[in-house]
């Protein structure tokens, strides 16, 4: 199944929840509105002609230039992306979904943006979402156990944010 | 020995000296054995695993490696966890070691006792030696359980719990297997059981009948379990319980557990050899052919016994090597599988073998080697008890003084209660007893 067919099918099913799609990229991706991600994923998994029963990966990507000059040149506004790589064991096809969220929830610095969790759809998402939360700082609402996974529980900050600064000290260990 | 010495000094001094000598001999055997077996274990495991094992310390074969390790262990810090029960924690290794050591008191190292007209080489002759050895070996478990309990570590506790569960499962079939040779020899006296197997290897109890043959393998399995060796080394399963009951031990205390383990390995092997594999008798009665028996004087007799001792130890070392070989070959069982193996398979098999051996013995009382050969008359009469033999040995002054016939043994020989009121003139026993058995 090609990227175009996926987009058409999803657009038909979900309408405005499918925000955007990029079919020119090497791996064509479809952008889904945050509030629609659970429904879309549920459909993708359960629709027999799609049957995306395997979640490869969830990645968090932070878009922000800390350098003022570069920020001006960038063709995007600062934001965070959650990227879902899906695969179907039955049909052996794959799909990339994206959810775009602001870097901070409603622009309030320090409050993490929220994306509904898909841990109820693929249990593989469980740890992947924890990792994205830990490293990229995106909260997954509805996740049964959203805790840090790679960093210690009391770690401050989310290291894969572009504006992250390594703490100068952690329990007596020099950070910088 | 004590009796002999008491001719020259106060008897309490004589007994003390005799006891000390025995302790030193046994201690050096156990310690030397541990030294040898740890080296052997490394060498064998090395060879099994395509390695060389130790090669440097002490010359070509690295035979001093254990000693070097011992020195290292001596210098290590004696650590104790904060929440440990201090006294029990200190005590546990010694209990294990003492139990393992104490079993040697009743193990005869060379016999020829009654057959050759002299007492066996044993620290303290116990006429229920089998029972004593098993009982004392069972005490070793206390050390393990105490160590696990007192360490204030959950892994240690698990090790102790497993050991407790394991001990109840292997002791039953182990005991039953041991009863089989006891039944055939008609005595619990280890030296008597040993001498029952004099002569050719056809007289060895393992070959006595098919049931003893199987019983031997069941015994070997249970004995491996009893000394906590793989595949039954659950109490110290390193991939599950870190190091099990001795997780928190270090240095010398830790090495005591190992001394105890290797000591017990040797003692269960010795027991196996005495009960099943001809004890101090070689496959061929070379000592008798060479004339190293009591009839040719004390020196010849003691030389014969020395040969017997070497024979016994060699066979025991082979037994230990088999355990080492098994350890480096097999994976470990799970605790429920150990209990299943011991209780569900070994126990019925052992019980069946006991029953089978009983019936066999009833049917062919004087046959040996799966019923193919006749038990020699001299050996066959041994089952009647030590009275006749001790009387014989008592009649020969040099053998009585030169060896350590226990005092109580002599005292009870002519005791009416011991005789059970029977008139047992030595020359009338055979026919009567054979008739009685039939």
């Amino acid at each position: 199944m090609s990227g175009r067919a996926f987009v058409d099918q999803l657009k038909q099913q979900f309408g405005n929840l499918i925000v955007d799609a990029n079919l020119d990229n090497i791996d064509p991706w479809i952008e889904v509105a945050p509030e629609g991600i659970v429904d879309v994923c549920c459909y993708l998994r359960d629709e027999p002609s799609l049957a995306f029963n395997y979640l490869n990966c969830i990645s968090g990507v932070d878009y922000l230039h800390t350098d003022e000059k570069k920020a001006k040149k960038a063709d995007w506004e600062p934001h965070c992306e959650v990227v879902y790589h899906l695969f179907s064991m039955t049909h052996k096809h794959s799909l990339v979904l994206k959810v775009l969220v602001p870097r901070w929830k409603e622009g309030r610095a320090g409050e993490l943006p929220e994306v509904p969790s898909v841990a109820g759809i693929w249990r593989a998402a469980h740890w992947h979402e924890r990792e994205v939360y830990d490293l990229s700082g995106i909260t997954f609402t509805g996740h049964p156990n959203l805790r840090r996974i790679l960093c210690p529980e009391d770690w401050v900050g989310h290291p894969l944010r572009k504006d992250y600064e390594m703490p100068s000290e952690y329990h007596g260990i020099r950070g910088r | 020995m004590a009796l002999y010495l008491s001719n020259f000094m106060w008897s309490w001094l004589a007994y003390t000296i005799a006891a000390l000598v025995h302790v030193v001999l046994i201690l050096s055997l156990v310690a030397g054995g541990a030294l040898l077996f740890i080296w052997l274990e490394r060498k064998i495991s090395g060879r099994i695993q395509d390695r060389l094992g130790p090669t440097r310390v002490g010359g070509k074969f690295g035979w001093l490696q254990t000693l070097a390790d011992g020195l290292k262990l001596l210098t290590k810090e004696d650590l104790m966890p904060e929440g440990a029960d201090r006294m029990l924690f200190r005590l546990a290794p010694y209990i294990s070691f003492a139990a393992s050591l104490a079993a040697y008191i009743a193990i005869p190292f060379a016999g020829g006792a009654y057959l050759l007209g002299a007492a066996p080489w044993v620290a303290q002759h116990v006429n229920v030696g089998v029972f004593f050895v098993l009982a004392v070996l069972g005490l070793e478990v206390f050390g393990t359980i105490l160590a696990g309990y007192s360490s204030a570590s959950k892994w240690s506790l698990f090790g102790a719990m497993r050991e407790a569960a394991q001990v109840v499962s292997y002791e039953v079939p182990l005991g039953m297997c041991v009863v089989v040779p006891v039944l055939i020899a008609g005595s619990m006296d280890l030296s008597l059981i040993g001498d029952r197997q004099a002569g050719l290897f056809t007289n060895w109890l393992i070959f006595h009948d098919p049931f003893t043959f199987i019983a031997f393998w069941v015994y070997l399995t249970c004995a491996t379990a009893s000394v906590n060796r793989a595949p039954f080394d659950l109490a110290e399963a390193e991939s599950e319980l870190v190091a099990g009951f001795h997780t928190e031990y270090s240095g010398l205390r830790w090495s005591f557990f190992f001394m105890a383990e290797y000591g017990s390995m040797l003692s269960v092997s010795l027991l196996a050899v005495i009960l099943f594999l001809g004890a101090w008798h070689g496959p061929l009665p070379i000592a008798t052919w060479l004339g190293l028996t009591a009839e040719h004087g004390a020196i010849a007799m003691n030389l014969g016994k020395l040969l017997g001792l070497i024979n016994l130890l060699l066979k025991a070392v082979v037994g230990v090597s088999v355990m080492i070989w098994v350890r480096w070959t097999l994976p470990r069982l799970r605790i429920d599988q150990v209990i299943t193996t011991c209780l569900k398979y070994c126990t019925p098999i052992a019980a069946g073998m006991l029953l089978g051996a009983t019936l066999w013995q009833y049917q062919f009382p004087s046959r040996s080697f799966f019923g193919l050969t006749e038990v020699p008359q001299a050996v066959y009469h041994l089952r009647e008890g030590p009275q006749q033999a001790v009387q014989n040995s008592g009649s020969s002054p040099e053998s009585r003084e030169g060896t350590d016939v226990p005092e109580d043994e002599i005292a009870t020989v002519n005791h009416p209660a011991r005789r059970g009121g029977q008139v047992s003139a030595s020359d009338t026993i055979p026919q009567e007893s054979i008739a009685r058995l039939r």
């Binding site: 090497i26 395997y54 990507v61 | 719990m161 991939s239 799970r334």
Partner: protein, 401 residues
């Protein structure tokens, strides 16, 4: 704290049989590094297992945002350090996918040979350490003996024995030295009888079967749902192998190679008459099957290497030029999963048009494979935990990155 009890009998009969909370790891002999499992046990029975990870976290992804792709290759070495070649390959391929670059034919066959050798080395360690987990030490050393020979081969190729950085973006750092292929073939020839030894020591050993058969059984649906991959997935009977089912850029490497995916179909493994039969105690998806799949994959890889050697010898073009360090990446993003020994190793790269990627992400196979432990270990015995975790064959370097 008050100890007042109204009814003294309550104290008297209050035999405490509390559940125990135990830390298995991060310092524990059977957790393959620094995995920490928090066990809640009732005696020997485990009621809950919570894996805790992160003890080997080295911020590899953050570092990847500051290095050009070729500089990040050594960091991929340190992810799955037991199959570093396969990690190199995964990252190299995803950058090549982003750059729409196709390595020359000879380079492709070379990569197949190296990647499959890496798979054998990795599976040998998996097999050996699994024996170790079950309490037998010798197979571990037998496995390392053979792995050592593979490392010797790798050393000849690239000079390193653990962290190779050999396969790189655009090709490999150097061609095979002369005479290497003969050595490789000689190694394969002598490995054939050794495999039978492994089967005798482990696969068909009664105690081994007792310890692994029907332990940690996962259904195919469960394995897929939890995102398991590699031998763990195929051990459940899911017929999925990226070397056959993956994306074109990866399967192109294996184009024309004859191999069958090692997964049970209708109660049979491919060519299983040559290998020990599946014991009747074993159920599909248990520890024994996962182990068996790895053992069969070793043989499969040996086949592939032989085919690769033939093809490599026939190919005439070069082995590929490593990409220039200063070369800018095209704008865009690419995700590619490769079949690493432990499962599907995915790399995701986002580029904003600079030489340094905007985001480098590694999707670790062990990460997803480990997550299922909590589910598999529920209700098992403590002794089963090494048996289950060992059969998942996780490498912490890859999980924590």
């Amino acid at each position: 704290m008050s100890t007042l009890v109204d009814d003294p009998r309550i104290m008297e009969f209050d035999v405490r049989t509390d559940e125990m909370l135990i830390n298995m790891g991060p310092q524990h002999p059977s957790t393959h590094g620094v995995l920490r499992l928090v066990l809640r046990t009732d005696g020997e029975v485990v009621s809950e297992v919570t894996p805790q990870i992160g003890y080997l976290h080295r911020s590899a992804e953050k570092i990847g945002e500051n290095l050009v792709p070729r500089q990040w290759i050594p960091y991929t070495d340190r992810m799955d350090y037991l199959a570093a070649m396969n990690m190199n390959l995964g990252w190299a391929l995803v950058i090549e996918k982003l750059m729409r670059y196709e390595p020359p034919e000879k380079g492709r066959h070379l990569r197949v040979i190296i990647a499959e050798l890496g798979r054998i080395a990795s599976h040998l360690v998996a097999m050996g350490t699994y024996g170790l987990d079950l309490g037998t030490f010798s197979p571990f050393l037998y496995a390392f003996r053979e792995r050592e020979k593979i490392l010797d081969l790798f050393e000849e190729v690239c000079g390193a024995r653990l962290t190779y950085s050999y396969i790189t973006v655009g090709g490999v750092t150097a061609d095979f030295p002369s005479g290497w292929l003969q050595k490789c073939e000689a190694f394969l020839d002598q490995l054939v009888p050794v495999i039978d030894e492994y089967h005798a020591l482990l696969t068909t050993n009664a105690i081994f079967i007792k310890r692994t058969a029907s332990i940690g059984t996962m259904s195919p649906e469960m394995a897929i749902d939890y995102g398991c991959s590699g031998p763990v997935l195929r051990g459940s009977g899911v017929d999925h192998d990226l070397r056959r089912d993956g994306e074109d850029i990866y399967t192109a490497m294996y184009d024309g190679y004859a191999f069958e995916v090692v997964a049970e179909k209708d109660g049979h493994y491919p060519r299983d008459h040559q290998y020990p039969a599946v014991p009747h105690e074993a159920r599909l998806g248990d520890s024994w099957h996962r182990f068996y799949v790895r053992m069969l994959e070793v043989i499969q890889s040996m086949d592939l290497i032989r085919q690769g050697i033939d093809r490599y010898s026939l190919a005439t073009d070069g082995h590929g030029e490593p990409m220039k360090l200063t070369q800018k990446l095209p704008k865009g993003e690419a995700y590619l999963e490769t079949e690493a020994p432990r499962g599907q190793m995915g790399f995701y790269v986002v580029s904003d048009g600079n030489a340094i990627p905007w985001r480098a992400r590694a999707r670790s196979s062990s990460f997803s494979n480990l997550w299922i432990t909590g589910q598999l270990c529920r209700g098992c015995l403590i002794a089963d935990i090494p048996s289950i975790v060992g059969s998942l064959d996780v490498v912490m370097g890859e999980i924590d990155r």
